[in-house]
Symmetry: C2
Amino acid sequence: MKIVIIGGVACGPKAAARIHRLRPDADIVIVEKNEILSYAGCGIPYYIGGDINNIKELMKTNAGIIRDTHYFRNFKGVTVLNKTVATAIDRNDKSVEILNLERSEPRKIAYDKLVLATGSVPVVPPIPGADLKGVFSLRDLNDAKHIRERIRNGAKRAVIIGGGAIGIEITEAFVKNQIETHIVEARERILARSLDADMSKLVFEYLELDEVHQHVKSKVLAFEGDMHGNVCKVRTATGDIATDLVVIAIGVRPNTLLAQQAGLELGETGAIKVNEFLQTSDPDIYAGGDCVENRHILTNTAIYSPMGDTANKHGRVIANNICGGSQACSFPGVLNTMVYKYSDLTIGHAGLTEQNALEHGFEVETTLYAGLDKPEFLPSARRIDIKMVVDKATRKLLGIQLVGEGDVSKRLDVAATAMSLGATIDQISNIDLGYAPPYSPAIDSILSGSNVIQNKMNGVSHSLSPLEVARLMSTHTDMVVLDVRTRGEFDAGHIDDPRVQWMSLVDLNKSAQQLPREKLVVVVCHVGLRSYEACQYLRSAGFDNAFFMEGGLSLWQPRMIAHNQNPVPKPEPEAEPAVTEAEELAEA
Amino acid sequence: MKIVIIGGVACGPKAAARIHRLRPDADIVIVEKNEILSYAGCGIPYYIGGDINNIKELMKTNAGIIRDTHYFRNFKGVTVLNKTVATAIDRNDKSVEILNLERSEPRKIAYDKLVLATGSVPVVPPIPGADLKGVFSLRDLNDAKHIRERIRNGAKRAVIIGGGAIGIEITEAFVKNQIETHIVEARERILARSLDADMSKLVFEYLELDEVHQHVKSKVLAFEGDMHGNVCKVRTATGDIATDLVVIAIGVRPNTLLAQQAGLELGETGAIKVNEFLQTSDPDIYAGGDCVENRHILTNTAIYSPMGDTANKHGRVIANNICGGSQACSFPGVLNTMVYKYSDLTIGHAGLTEQNALEHGFEVETTLYAGLDKPEFLPSARRIDIKMVVDKATRKLLGIQLVGEGDVSKRLDVAATAMSLGATIDQISNIDLGYAPPYSPAIDSILSGSNVIQNKMNGVSHSLSPLEVARLMSTHTDMVVLDVRTRGEFDAGHIDDPRVQWMSLVDLNKSAQQLPREKLVVVVCHVGLRSYEACQYLRSAGFDNAFFMEGGLSLWQPRMIAHNQNPVPKPEPEAEPAVTEAEELAEA
C-alpha cells in the first residue's frame, strides 16, 4: 500500500510513524517543504524567552537526534522528501505532483491513500511596512531564531500585534528579557475571543502590574523603518509606538490551497471539511491538523481550532483508518481547550464562554468562584479564579475559564474530561478526586465551583457577578451596597460610592432592620463567602432583593490576586473576628 | 427544627455550616469531645515535617480565627458543646444523652434529625509496651505536637509501624528532619493494599535511595523502654531496632460504638451502614465521614474508605437532605482515590488495582506506561509511571496507579473523573485536554497510556510487564531477551543473563534471521518504544512469540527514574543514532 503524506510537522509524521507500526510493509512518503520536520512549534515562546537554550532542542527526539530525513528513513521506514512542495493532486490518476526546491524537475508520485497535513499560515494583514526587517509572524523556527538574535543584539522594545494566547506567551518571553512590551489589540480587550470580560480583566490587570502596555481598540496603520530597513515605529490609530521589534500574532488560517485546487470540499470555517474518520470529500484522501475544521463536542457545529495536540491525535486516527482493522476509528471532536501562561499566572479555558454559549442559543447560568489550589494553611497555596458556564436545560457544564497563580491546569483538565463525557454539575460536584494538602483543598476548587453554581441554579443562593454589580450601580441609582467585612478591612479600602454601607456580620440580625426592605441590596465581602452568609440571612428575614457579589472584592479589584498576595488579608490583632473565607466557600 | 451533630472535625462542622445557610432558623448543636473542632487532620504530616510552623494553623479559618466554640456560636449560629461526649442515643425519645467532661451531670438533648460524624480511631494492636512514652498513633493534634517536640529535643531515630500511605507521609516528615527512619510492614511489601507489586516497587526503590530502612514481612513483637519510660527499642520478628520514637500507622477503624449501642445497622466492613442519602437504618439519623462505609462506584460493593474529602462531601449531602427541598440528594460513592508524596515523588491511585479487580471477578487488561509530564525539551520535564487496569468486557477504565516526580496529581484527577463517569479507554484516548509545553506533552501521558492499552486490547501490540518477564525468565529457560538499544547503552549496562542478546534496531530486518522463530522472544529497550517498534517488525516477519517489555529497562531498574535523572540517557557522541523514546510512545 502506497501512502503519501503532505506536511511534516505534527499530524503528518505522527500518521507516518503509526502507519509504519501497524503496517511495517507499507510504502510511506512524507513531502515537506522545509528542511527539518516534526519540530515542536509550541515550544517557540520558550525558546524566545530563554527556557530552552538551543533551538535544536525543538527539533530533537528524546534521544537527542535531529529529525532529519535520515532519521525517518533509517529508523521509521518512511521516505522523507524534504525541501519539496506538492504542487497538485490528480485525484483520477491518484497521484501527487511534487517539486524539489533545489532541483527544477517536477515529478509525480502515486498514492493509494493520501494524507493532507498542510497546516496553517499566519494571518498577516496588508499593513504598509510589513516586509521591514524586524517584523515577524512566527511562521517557523527561523522566525524564532531571528527574534532571539534581535534580543541578544540589544532590542529593548517590542510590539506584539494581537492580544490572543500566542500574544500573551510572547509577552512573557519579552518581559522576562527586560523588554518594554506593547500589545496592540483591535478589539475592546485582550483575549476577547477566549475569555469573557470578567475573566480577561484578571489577565489585563496582571499584565498592568508588569507595565506591559496594552493598547486596545487600536488598529495598526503602518510600520516604519530606519535607514537600514529595520522596523523602528508602529503607527496605530491611537498613537505611535517606537520599537525595535514587531511580532504579528493575530492568528493563523488553514493552508487549503492544494485541497481547493484538487476540488476538495471546504467547510464553513474555510478549513478542509472532514468526516468523523477524518476523510475529506474524497474518501481516499484524509486530512488532519491545522488545515481541517473540527466538530465542537458541545455544540456539534464546525469550529476552526488549530492546536498541536489535536494535530497529533488526528495523525493517530488517520493511521488507524488507513490501516483498517475491524472497525473505523472516529475522532470525537474538540472542546477548543487551551492553557498558557504569563509569568506566574496560568490561563486556561475549555468549552464555551458565556458569550459563545448565548450565541449558540443556550440558556445559561454562570458563576465566578474565587478559590485556592491548596488548603490555606500551606504557605504555597495560590489563587485560582474560575468561571463556569452551565446549560440550564440539561445542567451540563458548557464551559470553564480559569485564571490564577495556582494549579489551573489540573482543574482545566478535570473540567475538560467532564465536559467530554457530558457531565452535569451535579455529577462534577461529587467526583472522588485525589486529596492531600500538597495537592488540593479538602473540597477541590473545581468541585466547590460546581457547588456554588448548583446553589444558584437550585435557588438556594442569589448572587451577581462583579460586572453585573457594576452595571447595576451605573443604571440603578436606588440601591444599597452592603459591605460585611470587618471594620478594619472596610476602613483599609472599599468601593468608593455613597451607596456603600458597612454593617458587621455579627450584628446583622439587629442592624438589618435599618435596611430598606424594598430596595436592591448587594452584599459584598472579600471573596464572597461572608456576603453569601449575610445574604442568606437577609433573604430569610424577608429581603427578597438581596444578592451577594460573586468572588467578592477580590474580583472587583483583581490586583489583589497578583503576585502571591494572600487572598484573605489577616485581620488586624484588634479587629473583631471574621468568619472564614475561601476555604469555607467549599462549604457552599 | 432541632439538629444534633455528634462529632466536630470534618463532616460534622461542614453539615452544620450548610444547614445553617440553608435554614438560618434551624437550631443546631454540635457535640465534640475535644476542645478544638474542625481542624485539618490531613495537615498533620506537614506540621511534623516543618512545612507548617505553628500547629494553630491547622485549627484556623482562612481569616486567622481559631475554630473554638465562640467562632461557631457567634458566626455560624451553631451551638458547640465541646469537651462533651455523647453517651447514648434514645431513638424512641429522639434524644441524645451527653456528658460534659468537666462537669459531672449527664443531660439529654432532643433532636428532630441526628447526624453521626463520630470518625475513626487508630488501630493499635495489643503490643507489649504500646503505652510507653514516645509511642504515638496520630490520634489527634496532640500526638503531632508531641512528635514534633521529640524531634526538636533531639530524636535521631524513628520507627513507623505500617507501610501504607500515612506511613509514607510521616517518613517524609522524618527524613526531612535527618532522622534515621525505619518502616516495619507485616506484608511482603509496602503499599500492598493500594498498589500492585510493579508500582509499589518504584516507591520501595525511591525510599531505598534515601536510606529509609524498610523491614517487610516483619511483625512487631514488643516495644521496650528505658529507665524513664521512654521507648528505646522495637523488637520485631526480623530483629531489634533501636529508636527514639515510634509512630503506629497501621490504619484506622470506624468509631461505631454509639451507633451500635443505639441498634443501628453496621455494614459488612464494620462501619455504619448508610443508604445513598446517607441515612442510617433509622431514617432520622444520618451518618457521614470516617464512621460510615461507602459504596465503590466501579464494583457497587461496600468499601471502608475513610478520607477527609469524602467526609466533607458527606457533610454537604447530609445538610441538603436534612433541609429537604424538591428532591433528595444522593452521594454517588467513591473510587478510593488517594494522592500523597514522599520527597519529590508523588504517588496516586484511584479505582481498583489489578489484584482488586481480579478479586472482584473482572477479566482485565493492564499496561505499564513510562511517560513524562512535559515535553522532553523542557528541562523541567519529569517522569510519570502509570499502570492502567481496564475491564476487557466493557473497555472501561477500572483503575489507575501513578508514581513519579512529575505532575501525577493532574493525571490522577483526570482518570478519576473519567472513571466516575464510566469512560472507556477509547473515550479517554481523545479527550481534549489543555496542551502547552509548561503543562504537558502534545499527547498527554494519560492519553498515551490509554493508547498503549488500546493497542494491546486490539491485538495491535504484544507486550509483557517487567514482572511478567522476570517470572518467565525464572520459569521458562528457553527464551531470548533481545536488547535493541544502542550498543553504547547496552555496554553501559543490561540484564545480566545468558539469554540476553543485543541487536541493532537499524539492521533488525537482516539480523533477525538468526533468531529462533519458535522461541519466546522478549524485546527490551529503555522505556518500551524501540522494543515496541522491533516487536512490530518481528511479528510482521512471522515471529509469533515476540513480545516487548512495557516501560522497558527503566521499570526493570526503577532507580533510573529517581532524583531527576533524565528518563532517556543521551547517547554518547560516537554512538549510532537511536530512535526516539518516551515522547514517541505518545505515537503508540
